[in-house]
């Protein structure tokens, strides 16, 4: 499974990079989302994956008695997801706004600050 996930990470990165190299602003943002997903999955995989061992201490004890999934990558990813949402939301609104002003979502047409 790890190999499959590693390939998924590679694909997400490749797709993300391909999309941010496009001219459309919308594709650019989708590309950023995919890159973010890829990075999250990478961190997740690096913490080693294990089934059915969530990092939650059992009801009746004070410490883990059994093996448990690494909580640190999870905490990191959680933060990353939330932050990237902030970025995405702002970017999406910015695109909308920019489109209303310059009437294009083609990045190649946005290379000057002068009014066209």
């Amino acid at each position: 499974m790890e190999i499959l996930l590693a390939v998924t990470i590679g694909l997400l990165y490749a797709a993300g990079i391909f999309l941010i190299l496009r001219r459309s602003l919308v594709r650019l943002i989708i590309g950023l989302v995919l890159l973010g997903n890829g990075a999250n999955l990478l961190i997740f995989l690096l913490g080693r994956i294990s089934k059915g061992q969530p990092p939650i201490i059992p009801e009746e004890s004070k410490v883990f008695l059994d093996a448990y999934a690494d909580p640190i990558p999870q905490a990191l990813i959680l933060t990353a997801i939330v932050i990237s949402f902030g970025l995405q939301a702002y970017a999406i609104i910015l695109v909308k706004r920019a489109y209303r002003v310059v009437k294009t979502d083609d990045i190649d047409n946005m290379i000057t600050t002068d009014e066209v």
Binding site: A14, P54, I57, Q74, I83
Partner: protein, 770 residues
């Protein structure tokens, strides 16, 4: 006497603060703040006068703990002479400048810059540490840039300033390279400690490159051929600036540097021959150029270059006589040249021109100034009993007794001195004689001639009584430069000997030459035409070529399209990363440690792959966004499979929100730009796939290595005991790393405010859609 040199850094700080107070733009220009400006250099002057006769001392103001250099200063004869010149002439210049710039705009700013410059210059001559020296050295270049370009509305001024900072700045950077190598060879950055390690340094394999690099810095700063042209250009600066920077101080920094390094780098054939050649060419070439100029400041600029050439030449000779000569000549030159510059400025101030072919008979109305001119020309010409005579005697003494071709060296110096004498007369004598050309001009104010007069008279007094400067100034300098005790005493009269005859010959030839010079447009044109193939043209050609190249390069690299930038950045990073990965990885996969794939995971990943494909290649924006959502959900399911319930919940919520936001906002946007399959897609695809493959390899490689779980174990063990929580991820976020989460909330809030205001912001009329 108590050694209070240790107070010097605080003095510098005070100067900087006051200078800033002056240079900061204020609503009230010409306010009283500037009236105190001459007091500052005067205080500094008094401070250094009090250091006369004090044995040399060194102290470290601040030591960087991890770096090999420190902020240290050293005071000896050589530093002291320069410090006295800088502050003493500085005081007079400030008096002069206040009067000269009385009705001009931004006087305060000029005075502020001058003060900053003075501080930087003091730093240069008192620094003991190479890096400290370099810092102040560059600071003088920068402040002089502002001073030369002070009339910033004038294009020629700006160009000259740029030219000066390019040459001196470039030289400084080259010099830094030399400093660092030198510091590494010597194992210390302290100049004083290096003096004792002379043999060790000179026998090192890197000695010659070091020497050349350092000489480059000195030659550019002291306007030596072929870098001399920035100095005549710098005459665009207001005259007080020229008088200060280009006679007594900044241009002498290069000479100072050579003198300072003479006991370390000197006595080596490369040092001697380079300095003699460069100095020799400069002194004769510039003296010759000076004779053909008509602008007083231009004449003075070229004679300054020539005088600097003489100093470099003498430092190259390095015999005892030569060192004695240069020790005195630095002082002699500063005295008469600053007087000359102030004279030129005053003439310009009163008549509106500095063209000697226009000016006649000014002696009738500007008596005191004429006196200054005569005295300065006197000292400049080396006519007894001025100090210039003593100085010139020493020069001839050193060339006559040098082991390397005395005839050639003496011939060179005599020729140079003859031309310098004539050039001095052009400035100090010619404009004051004959029929009055500017009857409307009037006698200059006291402050416009007195500072010059003080310097000119001092030149005479020191000449009549050389004992005044012998023991306390010149001999300690000699000691600093040659690192040995002096065995000479300055004397006005040496009796009838070859040196005296040479002096007489120089005077006769000089006065003779003067009678032949008819300054005017014709001679000026002649000399300017000869400059076509000169170093200045070459430098300009180089600069223009460089500009052209960089413009082309920029247009190629920075075409203004985001894609291009991203592609370059990604390829570069990918390339470097790829190199490391391919050379370092083991490419071993431990199949036994892998978790198995069940049908559930297989299907999820398959859906994920299809979604990625759809996101990439769908022509519909909605389909692309929806597929993006599917990718998120698939990740969410993977999180569920592999023991991360918190992540799954977050991912689910966020992904849903993103898709909704996208759809809400984007249905107004146009369709995707039609996909045309092109070479660009192939290139992008290759880059993207390569980096993707790289990431896969990296993640597999990391899996092969044993992870460290120390921190995780700490959190897991203490989650309940310390934080009373059972969900460890939660506890990390809200308790152990609570402050981080707090900041995260702040970031989110800012994003939310941004989103809200962008939505609510009312469009201007021309931004409306319909």
């Amino acid at each position: 006497m108590v050694n209070n040199f240790i107070l010097f850094p605080y003095l510098l700080l005070g100067i900087a603060l006051y200078a800033m107070a002056l240079a900061v733009p204020s609503f009230k220009t010409n306010s009283k703040r500037s009236a105190f400006s001459p007091v500052v250099p005067l205080l500094v002057f008094v401070f250094f006068i009090s250091q006369l006769g004090v044995p040399s001392s060194r102290f470290s103001f601040w030591q960087a703990e991890t770096l090999p250099f420190n902020f240290s200063f050293h005071l000896d004869g050589l530093s002291l002479l320069f410090a006295l010149l800088i502050s003493g002439i500085g005081t007079l210049i400030f008096f002069y400048a206040t009067a000269y710039m009385k009705n001009a705009a931004h006087t305060q700013r000029l005075l502020g810059f001058l003060l900053l410059f003075m501080g930087a210059m003091l730093g240069v001559v008192l620094a003991d540490d190479l890096i400290t020296l370099f810092l102040f050295w560059e600071l003088t270049s920068i402040t002089s840039f502002f001073l030369i370009g002070f009339k910033n509305e004038d294009e020629a001024s700006r160009k000259s300033a740029l030219q000066a900072i390019t040459i001196t700045g470039l030289g400084g950077l080259i010099m830094l390279g030399g400093f660092i190598i030198l510091g590494e060879i010597a194992g210390t950055y302290s100049i004083q400690e290096m003096v004792g390690k002379k043999d060790e340094i000179q026998s090192h394999a890197w000695f010659i490159p070091t020497l050349i690099l350092i000489l480059c810095g000195a030659f550019t700063k002291s306007a030596q051929f072929p870098f001399h042209f920035w100095l005549p250009g710098a005459m665009k600066a207001p005259t007080p600036v020229s008088a200060y920077l280009h006679s007594a101080t900044m241009v002498k920094a290069g000479v100072y540097l050579l003198a300072r390094f003479s006991p370390i780098l000197g006595d080596h054939p490369v040092w001697n021959y380079t300095l003699i050649t460069v100095g020799g060419i400069t002194m004769i070439y510039a003296a010759f150029q000076a004779l053909f100029r008509t602008d007083m400041k231009s004449i003075l600029a070229y004679t300054t270059v020539s005088a600097l050439g003489i100093m470099v030449f003498l430092l190259g000779l390095q015999s005892a006589d030569a060192v004695a000569a240069v020790s005195l000549f630095i002082l002699v030159h500063a005295l008469y040249k600053a007087a000359f510059f102030m004279l030129a400025g005053t003439v310009d101030h009163e008549t509106g021109t500095r063209d000697i072919s226009q000016l006649k008979g000014l002696g009738k109305i500007m008596g005191p100034l004429f006196g200054v001119g005569i005295l300065a020309a006197w000292s400049n010409g080396g006519i007894p009993p001025s100090i210039g005579f003593v100085g010139k005697d020493l020069i001839y003494e050193s060339t006559l007794h040098h082991h390397f071709s005395p005839y050639l060296l003496t011939g060179l110096s005599v020729a140079t001195n003859v031309m310098l004498l004539a050039a001095g007369l052009l400035v100090g004598w010619m404009p004051f004689r004959g029929k009055l050309s500017h009857p409307n001009a009037h006698k200059p104010a006291l402050a416009l001639w007195l500072p010059a007069a003080i310097l000119a008279v001092l030149g005479m007094i020191f000449g009549l009584a050389p004992g005044l400067v012998d023991n306390i100034l010149v001999q300690p300098i000699y000691q600093s430069i040659s690192n040995s005790t002096p065995e000479f005493h300055l004397k006005l009269w040496h009796g009838f000997n070859p040196v005296l005859y040479l002096s007489l010959l120089t005077m006769a030839l000089g006065f003779g030459l003067y009678t032949f010079i008819r300054p005017g447009g014709k001679t000026l044109n002649f000399i300017e035409r000869s400059e076509i193939f000169g170093p200045r043209k070459i430098m300009h050609g180089l600069a223009n070529g460089f500009l052209f190249l960089s413009e082309k390069y920029t247009q190629f690299m920075q075409n203004g399209k985001l894609r291009r930038y991203l592609l370059v950045i990604l390829s570069f990073c990918g390339g470097i990363l790829g190199f490391v990965v391919l050379t370092e990885t083991t490419f071993v996969i431990d199949y036994k440690s892998l978790t198995e794939i069940t049908i559930y995971e297989g299907v999820t990943v398959a859906i994920l792959f299809i979604a990625i494909f759809l996101t990439l290649f769908s022509g519909s924006r909605l389909a692309a966004v929806a597929s993006m959502g599917v990718i998120g959900y698939c990740l969410c399911i993977i999180f569920v499979f592999y023991s991360a319930p918190d992540l799954a919940m977050t991912q689910f919520t966020i992904d849903t929100l993103t898709v909704i936001l996208f759809v809400l906002v984007l249905y107004r946007l146009p369709r995707f730009i039609r996909l045309t399959f092109s070479a660009r897609h192939i290139i992008d695809g290759i880059v993207a796939l390569s980096i993707g493959a790289l990431m896969t390899i990296i993640s597999l490689e990391v899996l092969y290595r044993t992870p460290s779980r120390e921190i995780s174990d700490f959190y897991a063990a203490n989650a309940y005991i310390l934080a009373k929580g059972k969900n460890v991820v939660n506890v990390i976020l809200v308790d152990f790393r609570g402050a981080d989460t707090m900041v995260e909330i702040v970031v989110l809030s800012i994003a939310a405010i941004g989103v809200y205001s962008l939505l609510k912001l009312r469009l201007r009329k021309n931004e409306k859609m319909e």
